[in-house]
């Protein structure tokens, strides 16, 4: 909507100068090239170590090699792990002609799923309540000797197969919903153009949590004095402390494949464009960038990605828009509604009668 054109609530801009930094360094960010992620989770570990992020649960989710689950108050990097019946470009999985096995993943999924929906104890799921029914663990085919190929199902053939791995993180949006709605000023824009929570200011109102279009930030559960920063909104800081000392963030430093690349956002965007072109030339047309466009619904993000499938496959929103884009319209409606109420109240007294 063009009437917002001149405000800095929406549209492409450089966030640090917009927030009032006069001599801001070039905007910093991440380019996460998921095509070379090997799912080792070194980034998750390095992040936890450097930032002293508390334990985030010791669940085995069973749905894949991802036992972290999702980003959260105590999970600032999350490596997604996806198994798909698709070919990865020209690669050959080597399964052609081999028999398909039983759908063991169904059992795992069922277990994980009941784990996710069961009543949770302080440390995770109360396993006594897991609903693993007759179709669950009891029915697993262990592949005991038989007349057919172990595990073969009705002569079915294996499909194509690929693994996708992606290390997700706070996007450090140009227009950050979390920062916009923060009523205490605890969330602020750094000189590097990133978005950081000040632990000593946040009062845990929780508004940033539903405001983030990517489901990144969360309020840390736990007891004050026992869990670090309990009751306070927490997320990736893009290692604000390390950046101040000229170091790169812990996750990028630890990444063994350079899947996580840190640097000046402008330069990262150029590099990413080239990488996509290269992959297209190599016969991987599904490669695409996500979040790099300064004209998208959040004004482009500081931590953008190269993906090999649709964003929602990785748990990312396909077309995120900062909620603040619609806020001027909302305020107008609210003012109109308030005026309606006031007029109504006047009318009920002026209207006569008892």
């Amino acid at each position: 909507m063009s009437e917002r054109g001149t405000t800095s609530w929406y549209g492409p801009l450089d966030p640090a100068p917009d927030a009032g930094w006069t001599e801001a360094p070039p905007r910093k960010g991440f380019f996460t090239d998921t095509s070379i992620c090997i799912g080792c989770k070194a980034c998750e570990v390095a992040c936890k170590e450097w930032n002293a992020v508390p334990e985030d649960g010791l669940l085995m989710l069973g749905s894949s090699y991802d036992n972290t689950g999702a980003l959260g108050a105590s999970t600032w990097r999350h490596v997604a792990f996806i198994e798909q019946p698709k070919a990865l470009g020209p690669q050959e999985a080597g399964f052609a002609g081999t028999a398909a096995g039983p759908p063991g993943s169904d059992v795992l999924n069922r277990t994980a799923d009941s784990a996710l929906t069961g009543d949770r104890t302080a440390l995770g799921t109360d396993s006594s309540r897991l609903e693993v029914g007759p179709a669950g663990l009891g029915a697993v085919d262990l592949g005991m000797p038989s007349m057919t190929l172990p595990g073969s199902v009705d002569g079915a053939q294996r499909t194509d197969f690929r693994w996708l791995m992606a290390s997700d993180v706070c996007k450090h949006c140009t227009h950050a919903g979390c920062l916009d709605v923060c009523p205490t000023g605890a969330l602020f824009r750094t000189e590097f153009g990133t978005v950081v929570v000040q632990d000593d200011i946040c009062n845990g109102c929780g508004y940033c949590v539903p405001a983030c279009p990517f489901g990144v930030i969360d309020r840390r559960a736990g007891e004050k004095g026992v869990t670090k920063n309990a009751g306070i909104a927490q997320k990736c800081t893009l290692c604000y402390d390390r950046l101040g000392d000229g170091l790169q963030p812990a996750c990028a430093k630890a990444c063994p494949t350079t899947s996580i690349q840190f640097g000046d956002l402008d330069e990262l965007r150029e590099r990413a464009e080239k990488r996509v072109e290269q992959m297209h030339a190599q016969g991987i047309p599904s490669a695409r960038l996500y979040g790099e466009d300064p004209c998208d619904g959040v004004g482009g993000v500081g931590a953008f990605f190269l993906l090999l499938d649709e964003p929602e496959v990785y748990g990312l929103p396909p077309d995120p828009v900062v909620t603040t884009r619609d806020l001027p319209a909302m305020w107008k409606k609210a003012a109109l509604a308030a005026a309606t109420m006031l007029a109504g109240a006047v009318a009920v007294f002026v209207g006569g009668g008892s």
């Binding site: 959260g72 999924n109 949770r120 709605v181 009523p183 508004y207 840390r220 609210a334 109504g344």
Partner: protein, 371 residues
């Protein structure tokens, strides 16, 4: 210690392996024997089938998610927040009623309104502070004033409104003070200040009732956000109905005419706009009908409608009728707030409501672009 958000994981899909079922029309768990599961496709409604009494409102379509996990996070808010929405609305409407009663010489209605506003306000402030992760830091809200944050705007409006509503209510206590105090300085302040304070509070009050809609809508929770054009009207209607109901209950029938009319007008506005709101919301209206939220919304409609009928038929004739109708309106308003709250939370927990509308948007006009 496990602080994964309530919204992130523990409301996982009801069907195991909900993230798979690649391209099949039967999303049943056993029929999804594809290699792998993440990032597969499942049908809209695959989760709600039957279990939640959810009626498919649109033809089934497919969408993809990461193991059925939420894309956006539900707010970490408990029932304090919908309670606050309700109580703030009661306070706002009561301030309006008391100001009008003050100006038109209806002392009983004035008293009800002023006390209603004060009690509503006090309880809603308790709810707000209780809901913080760090209640002892509630005053950090007063460090900044941000028009981009409805919570900040609301805090400042309450900071203005609170003392005014309190002073107006305190004025009602003057006759009960011992003569020395009543005629002393305190008494004079109370006596002289109550009316201007009450009138000023009444000017701010409607904004208190309507901004709470923006508080919910200015989020990525699909159902709250999609309601943003209508929700302020629904909420001021609900606040009027509730405060009118309270006025009817606590004021003699002969003086409660304005309360009845406010209640009727508010309830009709709420019911009518809520209906239009749902029609405009597409798939994100579904959570308003499903599960616990759906129950609350149905209860709200029934109670509010009953309150309307009762108010119109017997509200002005019998005290008992006024009591019953007023109570129904208050309960209807409370159910509405809790219903809208829970529907928004449910919409955040199910990736369907984030992914499908965005996909539809993409298919219609390509990615959202600002320039």
């Amino acid at each position: 210690m496990n602080d994964r958000p309530a919204g992130a994981l523990d409301e996982g899909p009801a069907t195991p392996g909900a993230a798979e079922a690649v391209g099949t029309s039967d999303p049943g768990p056993a029929a999804t024997a594809v290699v792998g599961s993440g990032g597969g496709r499942r049908r809209k409604g695959g989760r709600g089938r039957g279990e939640r009494g959810e009626q498919p409102m649109v033809p089934p379509a497919e969408f993809t998610s990461y193991y059925g996990r939420p894309v956006v996070k539900a707010a970490p808010w408990e029932h304090d927040i919908p309670a606050y929405l309700f109580l703030g609305g009661v306070a706002a409407g009561s301030s309006l009623l008391s100001a009008g009663a003050d100006l038109t010489g209806r002392p009983a209605l004035r008293r009800t309104g002023r006390f209603g506003a004060l009690v509503g306000l006090a309880l809603s402030m308790i709810a707000l502070v209780r809901d913080l992760g760090r209640p002892e830091r509630f005053h950090h809200m007063l460090r900044v004033a941000k028009p981009t944050s409805p919570m900040s705007v609301g805090t400042w409006m309450l900071t203005l409104y609170g003392p005014l509503a309190a002073l107006a209510a305190a004025g009602e206590l003057r006759p009960f003070l011992p003569p020395r105090l009543r005629d002393g300085r305190l008494g004079r302040v109370l006596g002289g200040g109550a009316r201007p304070a009450g009138l000023t509070a009444a000017v701010v009050a409607p904004a208190i009732a309507s901004y709470t809609a923006v508080l919910l809508s200015n989020t990525a929770a699909p159902t709250w956000h999609a309601a943003h054009r209508h929700l302020p009207f629904v909420f001021v209607g609900s606040a009027s109905a509730a405060s009118g109901g309270l006025g009817m209950m606590a004021t003699p029938v002969s003086e409660a005419g304005p309360a009845r009319r406010l209640a009727l007008g508010g309830a009709v506005l709420e019911l009518a706009v809520e209906h239009r709101m749902e029609a405009a919301m597409g798939i994100t209206a579904e959570p308003l009908h499903a599960g616990h939220a759906g129950m609350l919304m149905r209860a709200s409609k029934a109670l509010t409608a009953a309150g309307v009928v009762g108010t119109a038929l017997v509200g002005s004739r019998s005290r008992a009728g006024a009591l019953a109708s007023g109570a129904a309106l208050l309960a209807g308003s409370a159910c509405l707030r809790f219903g809208v709250f829970e529907a928004g939370q449910a919409s955040a927990r199910d990736p369907k409501y984030t992914v499908v509308p965005q996909r539809e948007r993409l298919e219609r006009g390509g990615p959202t672009r600002s320039a």
